[in-house]
Symmetry: C2
Amino acid sequence: MINWKIRKDGFDYNKIAELGNRFLIGNGYMGVRGTLEEFEKEQLVAVNLAGIYDQVGDSWREPLNAPNGFFGYLEIDGKPYRLPEEEPKSHSVELDYRHGIFKRETVFKTGRGEVTLVCERFVSMEQIHVGAMRFTIRANFHADINLITGIDSDVWDINGPHYKKVSMDEESMLNITATSEEKEYQVSVVADEKTDFPCEKKLYQERMKSLRIVSFITDIDREYCVEKFFAVYTSKDTKDCYKAAKEAVSRALNQGYEAMLSEQKESWEKLWEDAEVLIDGDDRSMEALNYSEYHLMSIAPRHAESMSIAARGLSGQTYKGAVFWDTEMFMLDFFLMTNPAVAKTLMRYRIDTLDGAKKKAKEYGYQGAFYAWESQEGGFDACSDYNVTDVFTKRPMRTFFRDKQVHISAAVVYGICRYVDFTKDDSILIEGGAETIIECGKFYYDLLQQKVGSEKYEIHDVIGPDEYHERVNNNGYTNRMAKFTFQAAVELIKKAKSEPERFLKNMDQAEMEQLEKAFQDAYEKIYIPMPNEQRIIPQFDGYFDLEDTTVEEVRSRLLSPKEYWGGAYGVASHTQIIKQADVVTWLSLFPQDVTENTLLANWKYYEPRTEHGSSLSACMYAMLACRCNMPEKAFPLFLKSASADLQGGGKEWAGLVYIGGTHPAAAGGAYMVALRGFAGLRFENHQVTVKPNLPAHWKGMKFRVCYENEKYEIEISQEQVSVQKIRSLS
Amino acid sequence: MINWKIRKDGFDYNKIAELGNRFLIGNGYMGVRGTLEEFEKEQLVAVNLAGIYDQVGDSWREPLNAPNGFFGYLEIDGKPYRLPEEEPKSHSVELDYRHGIFKRETVFKTGRGEVTLVCERFVSMEQIHVGAMRFTIRANFHADINLITGIDSDVWDINGPHYKKVSMDEESMLNITATSEEKEYQVSVVADEKTDFPCEKKLYQERMKSLRIVSFITDIDREYCVEKFFAVYTSKDTKDCYKAAKEAVSRALNQGYEAMLSEQKESWEKLWEDAEVLIDGDDRSMEALNYSEYHLMSIAPRHAESMSIAARGLSGQTYKGAVFWDTEMFMLDFFLMTNPAVAKTLMRYRIDTLDGAKKKAKEYGYQGAFYAWESQEGGFDACSDYNVTDVFTKRPMRTFFRDKQVHISAAVVYGICRYVDFTKDDSILIEGGAETIIECGKFYYDLLQQKVGSEKYEIHDVIGPDEYHERVNNNGYTNRMAKFTFQAAVELIKKAKSEPERFLKNMDQAEMEQLEKAFQDAYEKIYIPMPNEQRIIPQFDGYFDLEDTTVEEVRSRLLSPKEYWGGAYGVASHTQIIKQADVVTWLSLFPQDVTENTLLANWKYYEPRTEHGSSLSACMYAMLACRCNMPEKAFPLFLKSASADLQGGGKEWAGLVYIGGTHPAAAGGAYMVALRGFAGLRFENHQVTVKPNLPAHWKGMKFRVCYENEKYEIEISQEQVSVQKIRSLS
């Protein structure tokens, strides 16, 4: 049986950053790291906001962290008791990931006795601006307690400080309104608490904090509960965000903690109804997988019409809070299969940022749409030309993610096509998806090179998924995705020609004909690297000429553990060692391109040569392993993906740049492997079928999926398989 | 009046390496660094041999240094007196660069008095295997002298030791025969000395040295002369090199030092007859220029049919003793104008290494001939893929000189065409020059890329002369040189069609037609970057997008003085700061490509953005400055080129790789500037003309040049200019 809870006993200073990710709570609007209430920015506290970015000077633009409305700590007999300064007698944290509820329990020992502090908290799924918390305090002596509770606007920033102005209004409610540096966004946080026992309260301000002391003397072993609510609104949400926050807190105070907790549980139960995956025979996998889904649901932009998900979710400002190809290639399937409305929101984000992509293309002298490698508001590419800091010289290193990782536009096309295929909802094409596909097609067409006298169309000077090899020619994955884009564009134009009133209404016939011809020509002539005699496809031109060595050997050459493996001179750069699935990603997406033997040969060749230095890697290998009937080979890779955030231990540094946080793409990848890999789910010809290929110790699976506006329940046991349509969506 | 001598008084330990270059003597067969007789490998002694290379393990292949036959030192009253260990009372070195004679004079102070040691030495221009030396010893007391003289086979190697076996024969002559590691070349050095006063002699061996002690007691203030001769032969020269060396030493002993010295002076006088350049009004320039010519003549392969000159001449193993584009683009003019036979020898080297160039092209998957960036025997490319060592990590850095500096093949074509134009001797085309041009044309044709749908032919992913910017597209210089190659190939085919019995006899008509058509097409369509509105030609695609800063600013960013400025992350790499003339080299070669205003605008733009980090840079700027009628701007750049070896202070390090040595390309460049720039020499329509453009303080010039098998004497004064044919060569 699934436990639905994770717990960590004891306090370890060195685990603060890791637990902040692992015990994250979120509701799509905000994510709150699993840090303790008394922590401040040094402990990487963050109330990370979705889709609102700010830049300070020439530093990287990144999402705002809101002032922390969960801030609070105890004073006992006049002395503060706070971790990490104070060693606790006992301590534990717990996350109920069925319902997004975080709890900490700490016993402090004083000269006079013991005081137990329990804080339970969540950010509401129903009232997305609101966080709720309950402090419970108990002492085995007559303790003189000051509970300091408040809002801390001295927030953790990677490239901050983002608030150039912080104001606190003299009202009875705690409040902070902060104004951001670049765009002058206002972020208002209001908080108030409720007590049902006699106490003294006093408002005060200190070091960018709006605080209240709640003072009382405890009876022996009696529990004192303080309920606290806060609300966050930004000027992007509403004009008067301070007022909105006050009203939200008032409503919450009326509703009370218990009622809001019930509402929270109900909301999550509704989500799990479509998302829960039961695995018979492997609790560990089941827990890891559902925990992964928890993270995806915690950060899904359920509240927005057009928004995407950052590569590190809502776990902080790492990776600039930007949207990568992760969304389309790794997370989209989960939402398509559990919550297509969210999938549509994700795709709308790309359509709405088409202008940004066209602008970026133009900036580089290209036609069409070149999507941002690290996409922020409006499709602005947050990716810097210097995205890694050299460990040895501390200098920024010129990287080429922004200008050469051209496969991003194809990922967008892939996502849109997949959405339409899966949902049969082609409204998204009419809303701008059709134009997006055409513009991406133009972009790839403009990248095509041919050797004088040759008929072969090539794409040079790119970075593929394996980022350790920069500026390569004819990266198989990239060329294949470009070919896919040409195909999608040709099919779209055909569709538009037969339904001219619906699609591409603004494009004239001649242009359509010309583009169809060009895209068809490109589709036919684009060079796709072929397998060699050993059936291995070279990842790019000249790949086989590189040193053929092992991941261990390459690792042993590191002079610093934080050293970047890629770039021009990285330890992997001139070897066949790759960061992540590249050819295997291609083959995982398009297995029909080659024979079964070739699929297998490439898996076997590339797997031992892959560092899996990206959390996007293992799941692609697992997918292809399933396709090659090797569920046992897939299993550890699946578990690695599913446990990316549960285990911790992922890469925290690229050069000197901190890249820690949660890994929603790995979570999405694990889901794909479980359902499409092991369960063998297929969606073809308007039918859902399963062809299970479970690891030997899995006795069965049970889950639901959405497809073409219907919902299905699938049950796999050792005896039989059932696919049942349970109801229509809409 | 010219002094013809340089001298350095006093002894400075830190100048040992620099003086080794500045006081070099050579005869084309070998170069002997201007180090002292008692020096050993720690002081970078080298008897550097031309055109014979050896490799140890995986280290770089480099030319052999022969055992040092000039080795010797004094013992006075039983105690050795050697620099640098012993502080001399006075010390000086002198080079008579009119005749290639090195002399050192040192006074040692002992407890009993003073002893003066004078050594005069030269390597014979007439007997290229022989070195001759005269020790002169004088004491102002009855000194007990041991003159230790011998051969030192414990030679300086950069990537050695190269001798795996050293044998010494028990004969009366000093002798060492050493066997090289890789190719098992034998190098025999035999030496003997001649005394005309009573003394005791004893042979012995010590630490890889074959030695003799010559012992005597001095009369007060009497001079004791010991003549010493050595000969070097290798197994590349003759089968029994030991025997040949013994015979050469015997002959030298018979001839005697004085006779050989006269012969030496005569030989050099003959060379100067055609090379001397007199400048009226600027002795400093005149001396620097003739000193530069001295170096070129000291390393010219006068003895060979087919040989070229290493980038650091015969000053040691730096740059692997390899031949670069320096020969064709910087040194060739000097030899064409003073000694066309040497020019032919240089060009034959390229023709004879065509196979190596074809092999290299094939290795990279190209058609035609891709000449070695660092050419050794047989056209073997000594350039490593890792040619620079990173200062910070001590790791080899992947560099692209070998694979991307494709302009080298065009330099070969340019050299051949220039030789034929200049001498009207087209025998070199028949000997293989024609095939060389065609193969280089094929190579460039195979590099041509076009964007799908475009008619423009481009060349991508190259390094131009400015090596600080790697892997650029459409480097103007490279594209222009490729265009030149296409033109040369088309003209050659036309010539071959009209004289089918003489040229390209093995090519059938159809192939000729097909190639002519392709080359003509390429000539017409190859993209040559155009000036922008400010008339500036971008050095490559995107050059103007790079940071526009100053050389000083870039230099200030260095963290280590030995740091490489280029590569992927060098301080110059992402700025407009360039290493050396690039667009300006193009415009200096083909000024008629653009208007006069454009020439000037580009000079003015690029000059302050050039580090002149290569000794090849200043002369090209000086050439173009002359072309733009700015002799005063040209002058300091000319003087810099002419003084490259006279002044020292050039770059000695690229990363952690030692690159010090002499700079024959700068010497050749200085000669070009003086004659073609300042004197305004033109060779057109079978006529020699001058259009002087002298720096204001130059009152006149006088020199001789060869052209089309005739010799001319040119005299420029403030009043008049005369060009006189003085005799026919042949």
